[in-house]
Amino acid sequence: MLALDGLVKRFGGVTALDGVAMRVAPGRVHALLGENGAGKSTLLKCLSGTHRPDAGTMRLAGAAYAPASPRAAEDAGLRFVHQELNLVPEFTAYENAYVGRAYEKRFGLVRWRIMRKRFAAVRDRYGLDLDIDRPVGRLSVAKCQIVEILRALMDKAKILVLDEPTASLSEAEAETLRAIVRRLADQGTAVIFVSHRLDEVFAVADDFTVLRNGKTVNHGRLAETSREAIIAEMAGQAFKQRARAASATGGATMLELSGLRVAPARPSIDLTIGGGEIVGLYGIVGSGRSSLLKSIWGANPLCRGSLVLDRSALPRTGIRSRIAAGVAYVSEDRRNTGLIMHQSILDNAALPRLGRYRAHRGLPVLSHRRLRAGVDAILSGLAVRFGRLDDRISTLSGGNQQKIMIGRWLDDDIRLLLLDEPTRGVDIRSKADIHALCRARAAGGAAVLFATSDIEELLMLASRIVVMAQGAVTLDIANSGVSRETVLKAAFHAPARSGMAS
């Protein structure tokens, strides 16, 4: 149905696509695989008419295909869920679904009720859970992702393109989405599916294409290959994933939360983390993990309860008190609350620790030499692929942006590391790198608290597992021999009103 040959796309000096070939068949799910920066999103943006390829041919159902704009691509029957959210924050979910396509109208007037009804019907048909009347600016990232997906499902597409649609979804939603994808493929839609979760890829996809450095290195049927082979092809070398983490036992108590409430009506939370421990926080979308991390970080004022770090109490609010005490935080939404997209890599990487790069200790004057040296040091530890330090951070691939966002906080005096979905959209090798960073911090005596929606990751990295549901902690156990079922059960457990169960 779709045939791509010899696609080339350059951005200034960077060659993002360097002769890509790909064949997509109707009724099949095609996995597009590759490490961060391999060129997957760029390829899809060529398909969507956002970028125009510098060379190569695209054919759709036998005819030449060269969309001049996203609109042309839509008219050709393609639907996209891009890697980055593309929503209008002030609009409701159902109106967002209509942005860029014809609204329901009568006499030129928008028919809001019909639009709402149609969208609600699509939501219900696919069994997704979403409040459709709220402006999406006030929804969590995961819910926004669901809005994006529903938007692409509004009418029947010839080709559905999903760029890391499950990156911010938890297991349950991801499972639902995979079921939807299978259903659509069975009805004849061609689906292009990008994901870094290989288990998921094997579960849902039929065919695959692997990109490396902008070139197609292999393609074929998933049934005829193996996980290890794919990983080796993506990385260009054999690469062994580390087995389950040896559970580090906690040292002296590092963080102690007691009777903590993030809002008056929410349950209270008690949690203790020892130095050297890596605590994985699991929950379904909206379970309250992000709110908890933000409260610990002092970004949302605490309603009630106390927070003790290394035997000294922290004030209820105030990010700087956390920084001074050696806490670091990485937000879940790199585009909106994490990075400054139109600023340079340098500016973004240096922001949290600007004070380090003074020319003289007593003067708030920066030394550009130190700045560059410092940022170089941060980046070299992360294997980030980039052009120049002064390039906009938005020109990096999603995974590389993520690495910078974490790496800029890592530092020798960190005592508590708060990570909200730190490996979202990160390839397997980088994920291992980030995990190694966490382990190294923990080995150095820091406490690590990370929220994740990926059970695989949870079981692989955490030394202790904490599960939240509806704002309360429903499970808190050491990670030895814990099964997926135990975790999932706790995640769907309706907690007693008073709070903690274990």
Binding site: R71, L85, V88, E90, E95, G100, A102, P135
Partner: protein
């Protein structure tokens, strides 16, 4: 959301009216005065409603004042050349519309900052207006039928008030009930997302600018009808006031998006304060001071409520 957060700016207006009514029950709080305020705010409201379209796009149009002035001069010149009322109105509105087309085209196609483009276009328009009028106030030859569009009452309501109401309904309608309006708001909310979703950014942006200029031209015609003369810089004073009204309106409802009802509310606040302070006979420098403080107060009511919630 707390009540004061939701309706804060409206509460501000009510409080201002209550205050003036208490201070001057005999003059301010008369029905005739309140009706008169609706007339006094009408031209500002029309210009500001036009500006609401470009603010919905998250852009600025700083040429509105110049377009108001231009519309006045062009229309009186055409009357002087013997044109009839309908043709003159049509030609003037078309001229206004074209100004917006040009600004919108430059801004949307070349991604130039609207602030600088419209400031420059406003300067060009100002020069042309001056050229046409020779810098003089134009009067005479203005048909009575035209003048009646901007004065007098209809069923007890000032004609200008009716125009302003019609403009409000039109703006409300376009922004809330047409695809054009929604697309403009989508571009204003997240331009890149709108573009990637297939919204024709240039086309819709150009419309927003054209409507803005059109509204300014309407206000210019009504101003001329009202005054019976046209002055080459007579509309320039509307510029900052119109944006003040739009911004007041953006804090009023709907979390920061430009909207027609909010703009009307903003224009009302500005008009009520000016009227009330004049009636109270406050010295002119104190009028400025109070106007500033009252506007800050009106926004503050809402934002303090918002913080608390």
């Amino acid at each position: 959301m707390a009540f004061s957060a939701r309706y804060g700016t409206l509460i501000g207006l009510v409080a201002i009216i209550a205050l003036f009514s208490a201070l001057s029950p005999a003059s301010f709080a008369q029905a005739s005065n309140l009706i008169n305020i609706t007339q006094q705010m009408s031209l500002l409201a029309i210009v500001a409603l036009g500006a609401t379209f470009v603010m919905a796009l998250s852009e600025f149009d700083l040429s509105v004042g110049a377009v108001v002035s231009m519309a006045g001069i062009v229309s009186v010149s055409l009357f002087g050349a013997g044109w009839g009322v309908p043709v003159t109105i049509a030609a003037t509105l078309a001229a206004g519309f074209c100004v917006g087309l040009i600004s919108g085209y430059l801004i949307a196609t070349f991604r130039m900052p609207s602030f600088i483009v419209t400031l420059a276009i406003g300067t060009v328009i100002g020069g042309i207006t001056f050229w046409i009028s020779d810098g003089a106030t134009l009067f005479g030859n203005i048909p009575v039928a035209f003048r009646d569009l901007g004065r007098g009452t209809l069923a007890g309501v000032p004609v200008l008030t009716l125009w302003a109401l019609a403009a409000t309904v039109l703006a409300l309608f376009v922004l809330d009930w047409t695809e054009l309006g929604r697309r403009v708001l989508a571009i204003g909310g997240n331009r890149e997302a709108a573009r990637l979703s297939g919204v024709r950014v240039t086309y819709n942006s150009v419309w927003a600018f054209a409507l803005c200029s059109l509204f300014a031209a309407i206000a210019g015609l009504l101003l001329t009808a009202r005054l019976g003369s046209a002055h080459p810089t007579g509309g320039n004073g509307f510029l900052l006031q119109a944006y003040a009204a739009v911004f007041l309106g953006m804090t009023a409802f709907r979390d920061g998006q430009a909207n027609a009802l909010g703009t009307l509310l903003g224009a009302a606040i500005i008009a009520v304060v000016a009227n009330g302070l004049t009636i109270l006979g406050v010295p002119n420098y104190l009028q400025d001071i109070f106007t500033g403080l009252i506007i800050i107060g009106a926004v503050l009511v809402r934002n303090i409520g918002h913080r608390a919630s």
